[in-house]
Symmetry: C2
Subunit: 345 residues, 2 copies
DNA sequence: CTGTGTAAAGCAAACGGTTCCATGAAGGAG
DNA sequence: CTCCTTCATGGAACCGTTTGCTTTACACAG
């Protein structure tokens, strides 16, 4: 038998309300009673029943992460785990539990979100993707439940979101190469329907333009966030008559592919081709040579998302006009793959 | 205002009990009433309040994963994410939600577990590690709450657990090399306090012994589940007077280190040294050459853990004497790194 | 000695369900 | 035409907390 507030009350010779008030630190409880009740709770091993508490308070002290459908890729796994760690750490510091849910498709996801929110199992939701049109976002927005998007969506301007400034990040990455003396710089992009690909491409363009460098269309290739894309891009670039001396890749995985290809063809990095990429996965510093990468602070992204969400849950006076887009700073980590000035050759 | 069972009842002209019975598919409800109530529920957008339900049923339809303290390593992240995916998928199929929790230290973990279980927020727990002595396991065992351990513990014999047969896996890996014609085979182990290291080492020994091969102490080196360990082990092995022609490494990350080292020294894989390792992380097939690896079915491990736990929750007649250790099959994936018969040299 | 203010604690009604028990109607057996 | 079942439903208690409203008990001013 589990011990309830009534058992404690009986043993302490007070009413259940008093015990409840002791628990919540109500001011009008004498120090004496408070102490007595507390020791008895300790003695009896009392733990409050969260369900009963939630039922009356209409609050659950838990939030939910919606994972996108299983993305089998290496980076996804690393990315999500890191994000989850950030979220869980912050949430637990704020006294919130974290539920994690996922659906095989958008319909299932919507059902899950609706069930959890309307069924009062969670107080808010963190979304981990950004599709263009999204039934889940539509539902959340219209029903007014607190939620935060990790990523960014240009279709929904006024929702809470946490993201990097990917344009700026790519600008920085490209500028780094430019400042090393490179003038012919290639770009390996990701799927064009992802906003992150577009943003990074834009940043690259801005940097090139900003320095008055030539931008050839054949220096920009599209791919996936996968090694293979890098491999293919590399062989394409290296066969160009006037080939780039450096390249920016949207993802570290792409860099690994480039590296492998260059290695096979006996090219040297960074002498024959300098490389900078994004995300700074743990592997980037372990490859040979280690890859320069933009650290996007994944953990921090998750940590902040949780913070913003919980803040919103706790005071829903939704500061109209105030910031609703939180930008996590990025940081260029310069490693061997870009430490070479071509001019000296 | 959210719509409750009473609102539905009123609108349908029946009592709340009837609505509840319709919801739970009670047999003694006329088809007509059932249909009517169901359409009204649909119309009004009724979603049952999980808290109220849990309060009375003393069951939450959710389980909890306890993550060990942030292990920053690459493999951990990949491993845990894959495991979580398996757990979440299976749980959601069984209609269970998954909470994920972690603590900075054992004390915090224990507090969390206790709060969640005794506070009736979850019905059971999945533990993702196996320390030797563990206050959390002690608590769970003595309090009788349902839980499953992913991994294995020799201190606790009779608890539910899901794991691989690591001895057999290492046996298979080693035998593969032996069957290719190798006779001098090295082993790069992990931290000796981890059971998985010990088991795999044992499997290696068994295989060598079983084939009557010589086992030199200097062919066995200890390390971590990290690239660096592989790098060091490699340079140690290659400087041995009678060096191994093949090696088994406890983890793919170790293989990457070995590979990098061999590459720097211009050795060829598998001609100069054949390699097999464990865990088959997504990267193993992308390295050059691709690494032969034992796939331990991480997703499956999680999937099964969830299945076993939920089964136990639902029928706690704990089949005494029945299996309480579930073994997930492993599978040797042969790739280029071990496809070479040394005899032919 | 009565009236008033205040601190401390109790009572009872929620919160939204589930479920045991009671009840009425209908159908069949005797 | 009763009496007993069976079936479909209603009534009410309860799950463990919280909380607004009372009540009790003083202390003190008038």
């Amino acid at each position: 038998m589990t011990v309830t507030i009534k058992d404690v009350a009986k043993k302490a010779g007070v009413s259940p309300s008093t015990v409840s008030r002791v628990l919540s630190g109500h001011p009008r409880i004498s120090l004496e009673t408070s102490r007595k009740v507390k020791t008895i709770m300790e003695e009896m091993g009392y733990t409050p029943n969260m369900m009963a508490k939630s039922l009356v308070s209409k609050t659950t002290n838990s939030i939910c992460i919606i994972l996108p459908k299983p993305a089998e890729e290496l980076f996804s796994n690393l990315f999500f785990m890191e994000l989850i760690r950030g979220i869980v750490t912050q949430s637990s510091r704020s006294g919130y539990d974290v539920l994690i849910s996922s659906g095989a498709n958008e319909k299932e996801e919507l059902e899950a979100v609706s069930r959890l929110l309307k069924g009062r199992r969670v107080d808010g939701v963190i979304l981990l993707y950004s599709r263009k049109d999204d039934a889940v976002i539509d539902f959340l927005e219209s029903s007014g439940y607190p939620f935060v998007l990790v990523g960014r969506s240009d279709r929904y301007e006024d929702i809470l979101s946490v993201d990097n400034d990917n344009v700026m990040a790519a600008f920085d990455a490209t500028n780094h190469l430019i400042s090393m003396g490179h003038e012919r710089i290639g770009f390996v992009s990701g799927p064009p329907n992802l906003i992150v690909s577009r943003d990074r491409l834009e940043g690259y363009r801005k940097a090139m333009q900003n320095s008055g460098l030539e931008m050839r269309p054949e220096w920009i290739v599209e791919g996936e966030f996968l090694q293979d894309s890098g491999y293919r891009a590399m062989s394409f670039f290296m066969n160009l008559p006037n080939r780039p001396t450096a390249l920016v890749a949207v993802d570290d995985m792409v860099s690994f592919g480039v590296l492998r290809g260059l290695n096979e063809l006996k090219y040297k990095v960074p002498e024959d081709l300098a490389i900078v990429s994004f995300n700074n996965i743990p592997l980037s510093e372990l490859s040979s040579p280690p890859i320069s990468s933009i650290d996007i602070g994944i953990y921090h992204l998750g940590y902040t998302a949780s913070q913003v969400l919980i803040q919103t849950i706790q005071k829903p006076d939704n500061d109209p006009g105030y910031t609703n887009r939180f930008v996590i700073p990025h940081r260029l980590i310069v490693r061997e793959s870009s430490m070479y000035a071509p001019g000296k050759k």
